[in-house]
Every structure is written in C-alpha cells, then in structure tokens.
Amino acid sequence: MLNIKTKNRLSIFIVISVLSIVIIIFILKTLEDNVLYFYSPSDIKESNKIVFGDKIKIGGMVKSGSIKTNENEIKFIITDYKNEIIVSYKGTVPALFAEDKGVVAEGRLQDKKFFLAKRILAKHDENYMPPKIKESLEKNAK
C-alpha cells in the first residue's frame, strides 16, 4: 500500500490539478463571454448567424452627410461602400468622429438595418484606418 507521505503528496497533487482545471475552465469561459466580434455592414447583411441581442462591434466609414443630432441621440450611417447600416447613439462622441472617417461602434443590433451603439471609437491618427476596417473595405472593393 502507499505510505502516508506518498498518499499526502498524491492528494495534494490531485487537489491542485482539479483546482487548476476548474480555474482554467473559468478563465476560458470568461474570455469567451467577453469577446466582442467585429463585423462590417456587408458582413451583417450577408450573415445568417448574428443574434440580434448580442453585443458586437461594427466598423466602416461614416457616410458623408449622414450625421444627424437631436436632443436625445446622434444618428449616422456606417458604410463600407457596398452596404450600410444606421446607427443610433446616445453619448459623448470621440474627438475624431467625423464624416468620411473610420469608426468602430460597439453595441447591439436591433435588426439588419439598425444598430444601437453604446460606445463609439475613433483612432487618434486621423489618417489611420483600423486594419479590420481596411480589410473589410478591401474585400468589398473588388
């Protein structure tokens, strides 16, 4: 039979392994739950998998002449020059948010044409376009 010392070592080893596995699963699950997927307006139009309640990010260019402000919200259109989506946002807009510039909006889709944004991101370099937007624009430019 195993002696006491080995039994102790074994039980400690088992406890630590179990704990580690639990912690790892916990980390991976939290990671998955907090991952935000990125879509372009064309991705939204073509996809069949998007759940309308989920938090996602949509990126593209702000369409010329589309920004409209009223007392409660800002409405504008994100385009990738092939498809568009209307965005509604209540909140402070970052300094570089402007027409014909790159933008990424975080929030939830109401339906395929309408997006409720919780956060708007624009980059600090006015001529920098986030690679994700660049790639999706390039994909659509063909």
Partner: protein, 625 residues
C-alpha cells in the same frame, strides 16, 4: 550636419560596445580579480557617445532642425519648448534611442557601483548587456534611424499629435523605461550568475538594489500613465486593459515577484531558481511588450504606427534571446534542495510568486488572444475589460489575506499563527460599519473591502509594533499599507462613481440625481497653438447646497489638424467632478458627459505609497551586508 553627427556618434557607441564584448572575452581568460582600467575607460566612452547621440537628437528638436526626417515628422516650430523636448522620445525612433541610452547607463553604473568580488560574474554581465546594446544599436541604425536626413530641408514640421502634449504623458515613457529597460541589467546579471556560479546570498545582495530601483520606476511610470489617461482621454477612467497598458503591467507582476523572491534568497538562500528565472523573464516580457506595441499587430489608442519590418526584427531578437536564455539556464542551473517549511515567510513568498505568475498569465492571454485568433482562424475580436475584472477580482481576496497573514510568520517556523485575533475582530467591525453605510449587495466587492480593511489595519498595527521594538521594516509596511488602501479606494470608487450623458443647448439646465447642471455660456479662446470653444457650467449639489464651476473645452489644433476634448476636472479631496463637452456637426446642441468620481486622489496617493516601499528598500540596503 546634426544628422551626420548623430549617426557618427551612434555608430561610434556601437563600435565601442562591440569592442567591449571582445575585451571582455579576452579578460575572461586572464586570472585575477581586478577588471582592467581599459574596460572602465571604454565603458565611459560608450556612455559619452550614446548620451551625445541622444543630446544631438534633443538639440534637433529644441532648435527645430528639420533636416532630420524624425524631427520633421514629429515636431513644429510653434510647439511649446517643453513638448519639443518631450517630442524627442514621443516617437518610435527617438524612444528607441532612449531605450539604448538606458541600457548603456545601467551597464556603466553596474560596472562601477557593483561590489561583487567575482570578476567573471561582472565580465559576463557586461558581455550580455553589451550584446543587448549592440543589437539595439544595429536595429536603430539600419531600420529606425532617428537621424535619417531629408533633403531639401523643409521649413516647417508636421507637428506632434496634441493629445500627446501633456506633462504626465511626457514623463511617463522615461519613467517606465528606467523600469523595464532597467530590468535588462538583472537579466544580464542572472545569466552571468549562472555561468560564473555566483552563490545565493551574494547574488541577492548584488541584484536587490537594481530590482528595487526598476520596480520603483515601473510603479511610478504606470501611475503616470494612468493619471494621463484619466486627465486627458476624457472617459474618466484610469485603466482600460488596453494592450499597451497591459504591456507595462506584465513586467510589473514579474518584478514584484522578483522583489519578494530576492528577499528570500538573501535571508534563506532559497528560491534561487525563481530569482534567476524571474530576472530573465522580466526583461523578456519587456521586449515582448515592445514587440506588441511597435509591430502594429495590436490596435490601441497609442501604438506607434504600423511597420511589420520592425516587428520582424524585434521578434527575431526575442526568439534568440529566449532560446539562448533557456539553453544557458538548463545547462548551468545548480541543483537546489527545496526545503521550505510550510507556514514560513519563505513559503508565503513562494505563494505570492504563484499569484503573480497567475495574474501575468491571465493578462497575457487576454492581450494575445485576439492576435492568435485573427492569425489562426481569421476571426476578428477584441477582449473586453469584464474578462480581466471577472477573472482577477476574486483572486484579490486570497492575495490580500496572504499579504496580511504572511509577514506575521517567521522565516523558519512552521507554526500557524493565530487566525482569530484582535486585528481581525477590529477589521470586521470596521467593515460592518462601512457595510451598513454603503449598503452594497455584491458579495465579491464586500469580501474585497473586508480583506483590504484587514490588510490596512494589520499594517498600521505592524507599524506601531515595529516602532516599539525599534525594528522597522518600513518598506514592506508602507507598500502593503498602500496596496490595501489602493484596493479599498478602487472598490469604493467603483461602487460610487456616477456617470450621465445628455444633450443641452446654451442656457439650458438638466437635473441628474442630486445635481442640477446649468450650461451658462459659451466663449471662444485661443492658446499657443490652438483655438478653443469653452463651455461654462455650474453644478449645484442639491443635498449639500454647494456649487461648482467647470469649464470643459473643445480645442482645434492646426498642426496637424486635430480636435480634442479637454475635460474639466475639479479634483477635490474626497471626490472629483468631471465634465466633458462635445459638439457634433456644428449644430447648437452639445453633448455633455458628467461624472462624479470619488477618492481619485486617494487612489493616486496609494500607488505612491506602494512605490515608496521600493525606494525605502533601496536606501536600506546599507544595513545589510
């Protein structure tokens, strides 16, 4: 001309570095314990030439010498002098030159200040450090040369981004560099110690001051960065789990573990392998951080512009560095007998190492996961702050408890200390009082509050105990006290922060909770290199019947054409009032973000206290042999 001088100066320093490596190898074969004067002289020369290079670039910025493309791209004649100076390191090439200067300064200081008697140890440290210096110089001169000339010489520069024109941001890179670039010296020393078989206590005494100093600067550097983010970015937050922030935090975890481990090494000769591995890992993680920031694979508010060739160079260097370190470690590591008794101080520090390693892994996974997913599957995602908060917060509870209970144990003993003592009782009482005042339901936050109070009370008690016995271990007490305060105030701030977004026109007012916010009027004004629109707001606190005035601004800079929103912040003792104003599409409607952020100053102060422990530790080393 400056351009040529700069290149010559840097190349000279590079050549000297290579020569130092050669001299060092030669010296290894010679017996005796004295390092020849030649090596000191060339080290000094290396320092002089690298400082000269930096000075030349600095002069270029101060005098707006646009014959260097780096100055042309990042500066402007109308920039205030302070920001012309800080512009020197506010770009990729200039900051790389600063990296190198710090590598050289630490190399030189180690050579002249270190009193270790093992000559081979010092020589090998010099060799490894100079290998690092040479490689970085080669990278600078071939790929990222700040002295690159441009002809014809433009008469005006392209200016620096106004968001980067801020005092906290100006000093935060140099602070951080002394931190994680400074860790290069114990990286080199660790490898050298393995090869030249430096024994435990001697290594600990040698490394401790360098670790303390770099840890202190890393902590204050991170603080400066958070303060900048809070005052400048306009969101009211001070930590966003942004990849660049994470890149400064990850080495910090390692440095903290290392700082504690080296104490064990010094007193008890245990944790030798940990000290070596952590020393190697800290600088490695710093290079990983630099890779992530400069290669362009991560998107962040403040990465330098994309350039895959830089990334390739750094990645190659990183791979070489990691594999050589592993090789040296496995070849030279001494066999160690592990015999710490459970419930000794040493055991608790070991547990701390595991905690730090865990935190490091969590942050590293969160930072790299988007990169890996994108590269391997093509799925584009980002990892939100909730991941970090969810995973890390629960572990603060055991950490705080161990920080409180661990130091009570002796170095050698294996008795458990009494768990239920008067301190725990007092803390629970204080917690209950606070609980009934705040009425917060969340179990996790309450537990965190409880254990941070426990740590705070215990450290206060320890302080008085120590005063009585005239046996002050002030550095631990201050740092742990500061950490307890930090977690406590971050939690309170989290519970009581108030935020509200609304749209108003001039003359209107809005009722938000206990406040009435009145948009009194709008004025235009101008500064050194910008024009601005200032909003005058009056905030009435209905409960306390006090009034505050705030004036957020919208600024338009000309070079380059940028718009920024300057938050108006009233930093009172117990709480900050934070107001940001923006205007879209030239309408007469302004969007206002109003925030009340309690205890911000206490949060900054706690971090300062934490860092103070490091500096006290540094100055204390004379007491120990």
């Amino acid at each position: 001309m400056l351009s040529n001088l700069g290149i010559i100066s840097s190349s000279t320093s590079l050549l000297i570095s290579l020569f130092l490596i050669y001299l060092s190898f030669v010296e290894l074969k010679i017996s005796g314990n004295q390092i020849p004067k030649k090596i000191y002289k060339f080290s000094l020369a290396q320092l002089i030439f690298s400082s000269l290079s930096f000075l030349i670039l600095l002069i270029g910025y101060v005098f707006s010498d646009f014959s260097m493309i780096n100055v042309y791209e990042n500066s402007h004649t109308t920039k205030p002098l302070f920001y012309k100076i800080s512009g020197t390191w506010g770009n990729h090439e200039g900051s790389l030159l600063l990296w190198i200067n710090i590598l050289v300064i630490f190399s030189f200081l180690f050579l002249i200040l270190n009193k270790n008697k093992n000559k081979n140890f010092k020589i090998f440290t010099l060799i490894f450090q100079n290998l690092l210096i040479s490689i970085f110089f080669i990278f600078l001169l071939t790929n990222s040369n700040p002295f690159s000339p441009v002809f014809p010489v433009p008469d005006e520069g392209l200016g620096l981004n106004p968001i980067l024109q801020d005092p906290a941001l100006a000093i935060h890179p140099p602070l951080l560099y002394v931190g994680f670039v400074g860790s290069s010296i114990y990286f080199s020393a660790a490898l050298a110690a393995l090869i030249s078989k430096v024994e435990a206590k001697s290594l600990a005494t040698t490394l401790k001051p360098w670790i303390s100093i770099s840890w202190f600067f890393q902590t204050t550097g991170i603080l400066a960065g958070s303060i900048w983010a809070y005052y400048e970015l306009g969101w009211g937050g001070y930590w966003f789990w942004d990849p660049v922030e994470n890149s400064s935090l990850m080495p910090w975890f390692l440095m903290t573990a290392l700082l504690h481990s080296v104490l064990v090494l010094e007193r008890r000769m245990g944790l030798y392998s940990w000290v070596i591995i952590l020393s190697i890992l800290t600088f490695t993680m710093s290079v990983v951080g630099t890779f992530l920031v400069r290669s362009g694979i991560l998107n962040s508010v403040h990465t330098f512009a994309n350039d895959p060739s830089r990334g390739l160079f750094i990645l190659t260097f990183l791979v070489l560095m990691v594999f050589s370190s592993i090789f040296i470690f496995f070849k030279y590591t001494p066999s160690e007998k592990k015999n710490y008794r459970i419930f000794s101080k040493e055991f608790f520090i070991l547990i701390n190492n595991w905690f730090m390693t865990f935190f490091l892994a969590v942050v590293l996974i969160g930072t790299l996961y988007p990169v890996f997913l994108d590269t391997l599957i093509g799925e584009k995602i980002s990892v939100g702050p909730p991941y970090y908060n969810f995973v890390l917060a629960p572990f603060l509870i055991p950490l705080l408890f161990l920080m409180t209970s661990g130091p009570k144990h002796k170095w050698v003993s294996s008795e458990t200390k009494k768990f239920f003592d008067i301190i725990l009782f007092l803390s629970s009482l204080l917690f209950l009082i606070i609980f009934f005042v705040i009425k917060e339901n969340n179990l996790l936050i309450n537990l965190i509050l409880l254990f941070s109070i426990y740590l705070i009370i215990q450290t206060i008690f320890d302080f008085y105990e120590n005063l009585k016995n005239r046996n002050i271990n002030l550095s631990r007490i201050i740092s742990h006290f500061g950490f307890g305060l930090l977690i406590f105030f971050i939690s309170i701030n989290h519970i009581f922060s108030v935020e509200s977004n609304f749209n108003v026109r001039v003359g209107e007012k809005k009722d938000i909770k206990n406040y009435v916010i009145k948009f009194k009027n709008l004025e235009t004004s101008s500064g050194n290199n910008y024009k601005s629109v200032v909003g005058y707001f009056e905030i009435l606190n209905k409960k306390k019947l006090t009034k505050e005035n705030l004036k957020p601004e919208i600024r338009v800079y000309n070079h380059p054409k940028t718009i920024t929103y300057e938050a108006s912040i009233n930093s009172n003792l117990f709480s900050d009032t934070y107001l940001t104003m923006s205007n879209i599409s030239n309408s007469d409607i302004f969007n206002i973000k109003f925030q009340k952020k309690p205890f911000m100053n206490f949060i900054w102060f706690s971090v300062l206290l934490v860092s103070l422990g490091g500096i006290i530790n540094f100055f204390n080393r004379k007491k120990q042999i």
